[in-house]
Symmetry: C2
């Protein structure tokens, strides 16, 4: 009798208590299996995963394939027709009766990196630290099954956050749901890409070869960091991205700076003048037309930004910044504008290798972020035209001797392959609301909903090739050193990510 009453009460309390119970099960599963999850993650992170490293990146795909098989899924490698392209790793979890299909996306490749710049470790030899390196985190050995795991510990490795954490959270959420015998509410498709950090040059090709297989109502993207405050996020857009290499020239051979200095042009000085001409002191891009086709935000989006936590002051303190660009606008406002960033710049040598020479060339790599309305080809054309207006003869290869003698200023401008546009899903679509609710249900604090992330994902490739929308649900800690040396994930963020993705697989119909 008491038992029957209990069942009745539970049935009456309905879905929210049910969801709460599910969440407890997921949490319990994770707690019981933390050591095993960590071990599997360390193994995944031990495989070098730069997309251009064909052999190794494919070992990652094979490893994820095996992870899926062990979980009872029937994985497939989706190959491009083009040679030497990392495959996408794919599997399905069908839900009888489900009227909605969602694709859960993460990428298993990582940014290239200089191993020498990592502190006390190599990028693909993961280490555990008691806290962030910057906070004095000490090296720990991997815990025995008898030792408890502190969720503030950090796991350091290339892609620990970006984006093998996504693969790990999604596949572990699946295992936890299965273990708890919790049914999903949608048909679930898993899709793990292998060359996102190279600009997803073949994602469109793989999608087009598998249009029926990949049909869905939405792609949920697990990538990027949660809000700097630690609050969970749902992000409805991403910035587009493209890269341009610029090289300017001095004499054909390096010259002694004493014998020729003040007479032979110095390419480093030429490059500084060129780059300085592209932005004003406040950081506003001065290239003609740069902001022209930016699509203004809608009302829902503006409200979301206004409601998001104001975290800039705290961030400035953490990063050691006395000032910021953008004339006092907030970070959240500024990422809704197209940007121009110098990723790197080099001429001659600095430090102990520096010599008294006039270098022969000076180079910079520029990163152009796009927002809704911009087209990456158009922005590159504006940049190129700006360089021309500064008096440069613009080419996309090394100059010939004849060209050198004809043009005092020569710029080699190479638009790297793999650019793509921004993408933004309206925040008031039913699927947008369902995702927001599911993520909110796993968090005691109000989640942050953003019209766009600052970062870029090739989501326009998805929506241009498939009739679907995308929503990004990031899980990494914001201070994960993504794209840089000493990348890491805070373990609690991985644990939270598992719960988030379990909630998304079981979100309201």
């Amino acid at each position: 009798m008491r038992r029957l009453k209990l069942i009745l009460i539970i049935a009456l309390l309905g879905q929210s208590v049910f969801a709460q119970t599910n969440q407890d099960k997921i949490k319990q599963y994770r707690r019981t299996n933390e050591h095993e999850i960590l071990r599997e993650f360390v193994n995944l992170l031990s495989i070098p995963n730069v997309a251009s490293d064909h052999e190794n990146v494919r070992r990652n795909a094979a490893f994820i394939f095996e992870m899926m098989k062990r979980r009872g899924l029937e994985p497939r490698l989706l190959e491009a027709k083009t040679a030497n392209v990392p495959p996408a790793v794919y599997a399905e979890w069908k839900t009888p009766g489900a009227t909605r299909t969602i694709v859960l996306y993460a990428h298993y490749d990582g940014q290239p990196t200089d191993p020498k710049q990592w502190t006390g470790m190599l990028p693909w030899q993961p280490v555990l630290r008691s806290a962030a390196l910057e906070a004095g985190g000490k090296l720990l050995s991997l815990p025995n099954i008898s030792e408890s795991i502190n969720p503030e510990w950090r796991l350091y490795a290339r892609s620990a956050s970006d984006d093998k954490a996504g693969v790990m959270a999604i596949l572990t959420a699946f295992t936890a749901l299965k273990a708890g015998d919790i049914k999903p509410t949608s048909n679930i498709k898993f899709f793990f890409e292998g060359e996102e950090e190279a600009g997803s040059p073949h994602l469109g090709e793989i999608i087009n070869l598998n249009k029926d297989l990949l049909a869905s109502d939405a792609w949920i993207i697990c990538d990027g960091p949660v809000h700097q405050s630690g609050r969970k996020q749902a992000v409805f857009g991403v910035r587009g991205d493209t890269n341009v290499d610029v090289t300017v020239y001095g004499a054909k051979r390096p010259l002694h700076s004493g014998h020729y200095g003040n007479w032979a042009p110095n390419p480093a000085a030429i490059l500084t003048r060129l780059l300085a001409s592209m932005k004003d002191d406040a950081g506003r891009v001065t290239i003609a037309g740069w902001y022209d086709d930016t699509q203004p935000l809608g009302e829902a989006e503006q409200r979301a930004i206004a409601e998001a936590p104001q975290y800039d002051a705290e961030l400035k303190t953490q990063l050691g910044l006395a000032g910021t660009e953008g004339s006092g606008k907030s970070l959240l406002e500024l990422i809704n504008l197209p940007s121009l960033n110098i990723n790197g710049m080099s001429s001659g040598d600095v430090g102990s290798l520096a010599r008294n020479v006039i270098p022969t060339t000076a180079s910079a790599v520029l990163d152009l972020r796009l927002v809704k309305g911009n087209d990456y080809r158009r922005q590159v054309a504006r940049l190129t035209e700006h360089i021309r207006r500064q008096g440069f003869y613009v080419i996309d290869r090394e100059p010939t001797d004849e060209e050198r003698l004809k043009h005092a200023l020569i710029a080699k401008v190479v638009h790297r392959s793999g650019g793509y546009n921004a993408e933004r899903t309206p925040m008031d679509l039913p699927i947008s609301l369902a995702v927001s609710e599911a993520v909110q249900a796993t968090s005691a604090q109000p989640i942050v909903r953003l019209p766009t992330a600052g970062g870029s994902l090739p989501l326009s490739i998805i929506t241009e090739n498939l009739r679907t929308v995308t929503v990004t649900v990031p899980i990494a800690n914001y201070d994960n050193n993504q794209h840089a040396e000493n990348e890491n994930i805070r373990l609690q963020n991985l644990w939270d990510g598992i719960e988030t993705f379990a909630a998304l697989m079981t979100m309201k119909q």
Copy 2:
């Protein structure tokens, strides 16, 4: 009887024919011993000679010490009191009755270099080429004694020109004079320095420890290249030189350029603005006071510049330059002004290692050349003040967290040790005229006499510590890639250098 007549005629024709005969003897000695000279030079060039590489640089001193002993000199190592300083290698060749004493100077250390940048060789594994690399020169093995040596061949190695060629030419000239039984006209002192490329930080110390030993009427410096036309030179001054490292700062950790771009300041962009503020488009330094204390040239000096060959157009073609700095002024005019050169510049990475990050720092190494009247400490102070006027908080160490939060623009400005001032000897002194005549006597073409070289030597250290003057007589080919990768010497320049220094040791009293 015929024989007596011949002797009489020779005696009557006097010194010029005598000099001619001496010169023939020197030439003949060199021709007979080319293979041996080359072999000894290759052995000298095989010893790594960066001044900071204590162990190896000392092996060079020991090698030269042995070279001198083999020649019958009594060499000494002149040591600094400071630890780990490369010694100067010293010897004397006394001339009974001579009223003049000259010091012949060269340096045996070389510029640091990145071995990876050398073409088909390592910097301390000399190779012979049939011509300059840029002219398609092919690798040759060292010639057997039976094979003849083409004087257009080039020997490639670090310091092949700068400045072991000086050591080699001076010591071979000595051997040739001894072999020909030709007496010098001055007391000769040999002085080979071991840390010139590091800015001669202990030359003053070594000189002051040996003031009596080094007393002389003039130092003749064998360093640098001959004129671009191939004509021999006598140079009566050198520019002063000093280096400054500048680093500017962004956030304390590298940031994802998407998540933070357009908000977090980019140090590369900050550095480009700072460096661009230092020079105008014509290459004129815009730092306040930069040209203020430049001492104008005298009449003899202005005439020498006017008489020097006009070689700029030819040089521009060779170097692939459509334009030059300095609003159309000639190279020879411009080296009589203080300069500011960017030796190297770096922030983040370029090429395949580039990532979409905002770097944490951006650095440049600046090279400041000084002319007569300038003081290197004053020029650095002007540079520093300029940086301050651009709004930077200037320090000489890493900023503290507190400073980062207080100052939006921070520049670490480090004045490297080893700077020194320019030096210029009046061109109408008797010793100046004697040197000019001696060098002219070895050349069919009119020699080039310059008030100053573009390059720098620590000659002010010599004249500030000893009552003497300096004249520089360079021997290297101008396209020797001095201070850069693929440094080389054209063999004919070494052969000519031997004759030049034999003539200087026997110049008119």
